[in-house]
């Protein structure tokens, strides 16, 4: 550093670097709408009573875990740099819902931020957003003519104490759980895909009040798990030949999300972001039918076809979410490690 200013704390951590574009408080935002990913649900029934013992139960979303909700925010910041948005959660502690930013997207002169919360609550998370000074209104009030200001080598203001620079009080890295659901995923026609993974916890510098804390931690990890079940039968019943087959697939797509568990503890887990259940159920009263269908209801090709049909039918119309089947992969997880988080305080900016 041939010129400029570099201020460090006693741990040799950089607090202010005049070469660095520091983020300043942009504003506090409440959501403009709330939505959920619609269920992908459906199937086909054809002569399902053949044989008298054909299973008809649970063809909807029975026993599926509840979905979280998605809060949509519109942050007015016209610039190429996305705002850094901290979440003020609806509550803190070991029973609090998990929350995480799942989308940051420029939309005209605004940035659209989507926050996913693992459970539905009456209260809503609030965003505290920060941007480079170039994207923050720097209108000063009368008397606002003192403080501390830095410039980079091009003469651009990089830090100005008058415009509430971002103050981090803690941070670190957190790893999300691998699978969202561990153990059996179902039995017969009863699915079991609720989030039961243990939360992963990491500590940060202890603060005086958990409810005052806000955090920045985008949701990077996701998991997708499924359960399939098929039954078929053929033979003679009630003096008639019969054959039937039913094949089902249930799945959940989980997104990682976070919570302030205490004044010094940050936790990660999953919420159900999207879910689906499709099936095909066919029967007939001829034994010839058995050979035609028993091999057809299993395998990805069949389910892929019916999924495409359901999505093409416009199941997402008006839901304000991107269409798709939300079944990106089978029984796995992605991006669980190295999720950076920053802790700050709402009271600095209220």
């Amino acid at each position: 550093m041939a010129h400029g200013l570099l201020i460090k704390n006693e741990d040799n951590e950089v607090l202010i670097d005049s070469d660095y574009i520091h983020y300043h408080f942009l504003g506090k935002y409440t959501h403009s709408s709330v939505t959920q990913v619609p269920d992908v649900s459906g199937g086909g029934d054809a002569n399902v009573d053949a044989g008298g013992n054909s299973p008809n139960e649970n063809k909807g979303m029975q026993n599926m875990p509840s979905k979280g909700e998605i809060y949509v925010y519109s942050v007015p910041v016209n610039g190429a740099n996305p705002p850094m948005c901290f979440i003020k959660p609806t509550s803190t502690g070991s029973s609090a819902p998990f929350t995480g930013i799942v989308l940051t997207k420029q939309s005209g002169t605004n940035w659209e931020i989507r926050v996913f919360q693992s459970t539905v609550t009456s209260a809503s998370p609030v965003l505290y957003c920060f941007s480079p000074l170039s994207q923050v209104s720097t209108t000063t009030a009368s008397g606002d003519d003192y403080g501390f200001k830095t410039f980079n080598s091009s003469g651009v203001v990089t830090f100005d104490s008058r415009f509430k620079p971002l103050r981090a009080v803690g941070g670190g890295n957190i790893t999300s759980p691998g699978l969202a659901h561990t153990g059996s995923t179902g039995s017969g026609w009863t699915v079991s895909l609720s989030v039961n993974a243990s939360s992963v916890s990491t500590s940060f510098t202890s603060q005086s009040s958990a409810s005052d804390l806000i955090y920045y931690c985008p949701s990077l990890a996701h998991a997708c798990q499924q359960y399939t079940h098929e039954e078929d039968d053929s033979g003679i019943f009630d003096w008639e030949s019969y054959a039937w087959a039913r094949g089902d697939i249930w799945w959940c797509f989980y997104r990682s999300c976070f919570r302030i568990a205490s004044t010094s503890s940050f936790e990660a887990n999953y919420g159900v972001y999207a879910r689906g259940h499709i099936y095909e159920h066919k029967g007939d009263t001829t034994s010839v039918f058995a050979g035609l269908i028993l091999g057809a209801l299993t395998g990805g090709a069949y389910f892929a076809a019916i999924l495409a049909t359901l999505v093409a039918a416009g199941s997402f119309t008006g839901a304000n979410v991107d269409g798709g089947n939300y079944l990106p992969y089978e029984n796995s997880y992605r991006n669980t490690s190295g999720n950076a988080f920053i802790i700050s305080k709402a009271s600095y900016y209220d």
């Binding site: 691998g178 499924q226 030949s241």
Partner: protein, 279 residues
Amino acid sequence: MTKQAGWKIVSTEINEGVYLLTIEMISVDPCSYNEELHEQLHNELIAHTHRTETSSGLFTFDHNPTTAEVEQAVTERGFNPVLQDVDRGIIVMYGHGNLDVDENNSVTRKTNAIKTITEGEDDVLEYNFNLHNTEFMNLYSMLPISVDRMPTSMSLKGDWLHLYYVNAEHAPPEQFFTDSFFLYSVRIHKDTGEIKRKGYDKGMTLDEETVDSLQGFDTLENIVATGTYLDEPRVTIYHMKSSDKEDYVNNVSTVEIPYYGTTFENGVIVRVREYLRNI
């Protein structure tokens, strides 16, 4: 079309050191039929099943598991390659028809005749054309008239030869019936050739007014079939012996579970018969 019982790994992924195995588990009906019997079951429309169940689930290991470890894991998850009885309104296995299964899950056909017990009368056996051909033909030879269609089974109650018609299409024996029923019986007096007919429907088919006219009808529970006499002011209500699970009647035709038939004439009970398999 037959599936093999067992499990198989359908996908394996190593994710951050974790082995993610998606495993398909197949449970099947353990019963085996010899080819001749199986063909016979289908030809004679004797109830039996070929049920299979297939589930897939995710299993995780911190190492590449051995076959024994996978076997243990699926077993601990509750997998059983042999299908167990599941209550879905009918018994999954051998619930219908005259089938029996031995300790090796080998299925054989029981040949016990249907027996009718009526208080004050001799017990009567019903002989099936296929299963009791000698006895059946003895009765058939007693018929004083010719019949166009060979009945499924026959019995002799007093002076009356009873002819039963059971077929998959429920098609009426046109010599005697024009209306369709689920089952048909024709009584022919062995000496005079007089004919009386009865058609059977599943469940209760009488209207409310008729039901109200039947003496003691409200004591009957779990009605499984209604027998309508075409030539007499009679009706027979077939009902389970009790509401207990072991008395549940799935199929009135095969008489695998004993049940009663209460016959009313002009609204008054004239007899109660028990139907069961002869032991």
